[in-house]
Each structure stands twice: as C-alpha cells, then as structure tokens.
Chain length 325, copies 2
C-alpha cells in the first residue's frame, strides 16, 4: 500500500510538472478504470481549471481531425502547449487513417508541445465519457494551455464530454444536409462557432446562407440563452491547406474573451461540473446493475417470464430494483 | 382503492377490445408516469406480441412522417389496423406541420383503423423512451396489427425505442451525406431496410451507389450478424406522390418472413426485452438520484467543493453514491 501511494504521488508530481510519459500513463490508468487513476485525478484536481477547453463536434468525414491539426499548428506557433483528446471512433486519431492524414498528424507527434491521445469507444458510452472527462482534467493539470476534444455528433444528444468544453465548435462541410436539418428542427443545440470545412466546394456559400437562415430563425433569445449576446460566427476553412485557420483561431479567442467578460465561463463550468458529477454517478449505478445481473439467476428467471409474456418489462425492472435494495 | 382497481380493469378490457378512447387514455397514463398506467401495461402484457413493430428512423426533414402516412394507407387498403407512434420532436405528427402534411395525415385521423399518437420529447430521454416502449405495448395489446414507430436518428446511438422494433427502416434523402458518412464509419448501425425518399432528385442514383458501396464494405458478416443472411434492400420512394410504397411494403413483408423463418424474431425480441428491462431500471435509478438531489444540502455542499476545485467530480460522485447507500 505504501509503495503504491508513493508511486501515485510521484506520478502526480511528474504529471503536474508536465511530464509527457506521466500524462500518458495517467490517462491509461483512468481509461482502464484503475483505482490509482481516480486517486490521481483526485490529487491533481486542485491544479485544474486553467486550460481553455474547446470541443470540436460534427459528423464523421467532415475533416475534424485535420482541422484540429491545423489549429494546433497555429497555437503552437503562438507558443502555447496543446493537448488533443479524440473520442470519435471514426477519427484518424483513433483508428486507421489515409496516408495524408497520418503525415499531417505525425508532424505533431514529434512535437513535445503537443500531446495527442485517442480513446476507443468501448460500447459503454457512460464509461467512456466518464474516462474522457477525467483525461481532460489530467491534460489540464499537466499544464496544457489549450485542450481540444474531438467527438462525433450528428444532430442528437452529444456525448457528455462536449459538456466539459468552454467553447463548442460544430464542424460541417458542404453536403452536411442532415446536420442543417437537425439544427433547423432544434434537435441539435446551437454551438458557439460553426466551421464549414472543405470550403473549396462550390456549394459552400449556399450552405453558409442556409445556416445563417437557421441562426436567424433561432432568434436573438436562442442565441443569447447560450452565449449572453454572443453571435455565432460561421467560419469557412480548408483545413488541409491551412485556409481560414487564422480566422477560426481569432473567433475562438473572441468567444473566450466574451464568456470571460460576461462572467459566463464560471457559470458554464458550474453547470458542466454539476452534470459531470451526476453523469458519473448515474453511469456507475447502471454499470453496477449490469454487472450484478450478468450471472444473476433471479434476473434470468424474471427475463424468461418477460419473454413468455407473463411479466411486463416495467414490473421486471421494479422487481430488480427492489431486489437491489 | 376498489374503485380505482375496477376502473383500471374496465379500461384494460376496453383497451383489449380495441377501443380507441381507452387506448388514448391508457397512453396518456403512461406518458404522465401515473401508477395506473404501469398497472394497466402489467395487466394487458400477456396479450402483446402479435403486432409487427416497424421502426422508421432517420434525420429530420427526409419525410419520415409522409412515408409512414403512405405505408399506412397501403396497409389499410390491405385491411390491416395500424398504430403510429412518433417520438421525433421535429415530426409533423408531433408539432406544427406544413399544410400539405396536415392534409395527408388528416386523412388517417378520420379512419378508425388508424391510431396516431405523438409523444413529446421532455428532455429526459430515459423517461420518454420508457413511456414510448409502454405505449408501443399498449398499441399491440389493443390489437393494432402494424405498429409504426417514428424516431429521429442521425448517426449516433438511437433512442432506445428503436430497440423495440422487429424491423428497422432507415429513411434518407439525396443530401443525407452525414448519415452516409456515419454508416461508412460504422457509427450508425446498419438497418434492415434503407429508403431513399424524395427520389425524384437527380442525385438519387449516385446516393444509391454510395450506399451499396457502404453495404458491400460492411461485408457479408456484418450484414448477416444482424439479419442471418438478410441482404439489406435499398428502396427509392417519393412518399408525397405514393411512388415506391408498394415496393417498400413488399420488402417489409419479406423481412418479416425472413426473421420468422430463421427463428430470429424470437431471438431479437429476447434481446430487445432484456435491454428494455435494463433501460427502464437504469432510467429509474437516474431519475430517483436527480430527484433526491434537487433539494439536497449535502449535494450542494459537494458541488461547491467541486466548483472551488477542492473535490474532483468522480470523488463527489463516489460520496453521493455512498450517501445514497
């Protein structure tokens, strides 16, 4: 026990000093759901809260990872340290990539000022998002000034991790008709910044007009509800060629200044942290339930009755919860 | 108590006889989370399992409700009774609609053989999907031979209700690039039938080719894992003009024959019912937790510590769960 406590302590110290290997090890610990990982986050948590956390979300295939690579380059040129966390299972950060993507990303793999980590989607979204939130805290504690989180989202409830972001960027491309419809229908929340990537497509300007239409329909209240008078900018980029990246970085900084000035950053973080605590608690309850039931004879018996139409699903759930205390 | 038991009994009897007003009342009871509603489902559950439940999912704006209206017309012409359940917040069934849609749907509102019900999205997805599953059982118990469930889905985990369907239809339109990307990336599960609606668009055939490409990439194993050798058909429709509906109805019947012949319907329903029991239990646990905490002084105290960076979110969750026993 003493040895473990000491090694965790050392790991925490090295992490707080910004040591990359300590950071990699720490994220693996939370990803593997190891008690030392949780203990570590507990220790370093007082040193978090300085990073600017930007979430990049959008459908697969729009070029989120290329965009993040380009923004990372710009932030590195400005002397800032960057951490990237990808929980998009379709991202080149996460799995196989075209050679071109590999080359663009590998530039950053060699830079000590950039730490890139992908987290695999292990089916259990609760578990993954819980681990990803911890990983974002670890990047923050390790002194990464900018933390970029990549998630896939196409018009439904976002994966929880996006709730951790100070600024939410929705990345689309010409052809993202489904996402526009989802915005229009009010199913997808309006983000802080919208990027149209692959903007060399002739349909880009039509798309910008459509989005402006959606934003004006949402009205000043809808926009200000989220951002306190912030007007959502639409930025056209060609991330693969570095086009529009400076403009995007400027918009990100403007958004940060805006929420800092309006006192919204604190308010947003309070709400996010509340959701985070509840989400972790709920995910653990569900996981505990499923583990308890995997080999449970009583659950199998209840299930047979449900399949035979003798007991309805809700009554079976009631019986389960009663048995669980 | 006796009076309530008697009136519930009467309601159950009237429901089983197919009485529309009893059905409407019963669904309101489960939607409002009233104990009588759950009791009613418990009573009529042994009379469920006969309906063919088809889930229609897809991004907003592709014309799912018009398509369901057209399929409903075809099934009515074949003498079958139909129940429609919409939990798509952007659907004309659920909220405002263009005049054209209203007219197309109103034809069915006057038909005793069709029962249409929309359920509002009340933010708490767990609660809504729980109520929707109960409503689907009520439609089944009331003798609806076909139950069509409309949900919005754009490439992420579907709302649980789709798990209740025997057959899952993904509805797309030319321009649904995000959904194609999501299919390609393996983020969206391959459905049983794919419909390209609004197929008068010149880009339709290109889209069909793209989808065929995705399906062939997914490979025979991926396809057969879900359907035991079922090859996912792609059906082109123009629902507003009734084009392609007969072909779609044929494919739906073929799929049903296929899963019946292969013994898969029973297997699918067993898996769905298992998920349903677990989802109801988990949703209730989460709701109970949130209710318990709304006014909880200890939770507020923990939250302040988290906001002040003195206690990390995971440790706060641990403390909450320990306090909850």
């Amino acid at each position: 026990m003493i040895a473990r406590a000491m090694s965790a302590d050392t790991l925490a110290q090295r992490l707080l000093e910004g040591d990359r290997r300590a950071l990699a090890r720490a994220i693996s610990l939370v990803e593997d759901d190891r008690p030392e990982g949780w203990e570590l986050v507990r220790e370093v948590y007082p040193h978090t809260g300085s990073a600017a956390v930007v979430g990049f979300t959008g459908p697969p295939g729009v070029g989120k990872s290329t965009l993040i690579a380009a923004v990372t380059r710009a932030r590195r040129n400005a002397g800032r340290s960057v951490g990237v966390l990808s929980i998009d299972p379709s991202s080149p950060f996460t799995q196989g990539a075209l050679l071109g993507d590999r080359i663009r990303l590998s530039e950053h793999f060699l830079d000590q000022g950039v730490f890139i980590r992908s987290m695999a989607n292990r089916g259990a979204l609760g578990g993954l998002s819980e681990a990803a939130l911890q990983a974002a805290l670890l990047l923050d504690a390790a002194g990464r000034e900018d933390v970029f989180v990549e998630t896939v989202g196409v018009g439904q409830a976002e994966i929880d991790i996006i709730d951790h972001a100070d600024t939410v960027v929705l990345v689309l491309m010409p052809g993202s008709g489904d996402s526009i419809q989802a915005l229009k229908a009010g199913i997808m929340e309006i983000p802080d910044v919208i990027v149209i990537n692959k903007a060399d497509n002739p349909l880009t300007d039509t798309m910008v007009r459509e989005i402006r239409g959606v934003l004006s329909l949402a009205g000043p209240e809808a926009v200000s509800e989220r951002g306190g008078g912030w007007r959502v900018p639409i930025v056209k980029t060609e991330a693969a060629r570095g086009e529009g990246i400076d403009a995007l970085v400027e918009r990100l900084q403007e958004h940060r200044s805006h929420i800092l000035a309006a006192g919204q950053l604190a308010e947003r973080r309070r709400r996010n942290l509340r959701n985070e605590v509840l989400s972790i608690a709920a995910a653990r309850m569900r996981r505990r339930l499923e583990e308890d039931l995997r080999e449970d004879a009583e659950f199998q018996r209840l299930l047979e009755q449900v399949v035979d139409r003798r007991l309805d699903p809700a009554s079976a759930a009631t019986a389960l919860l009663a048995a669980a205390g």
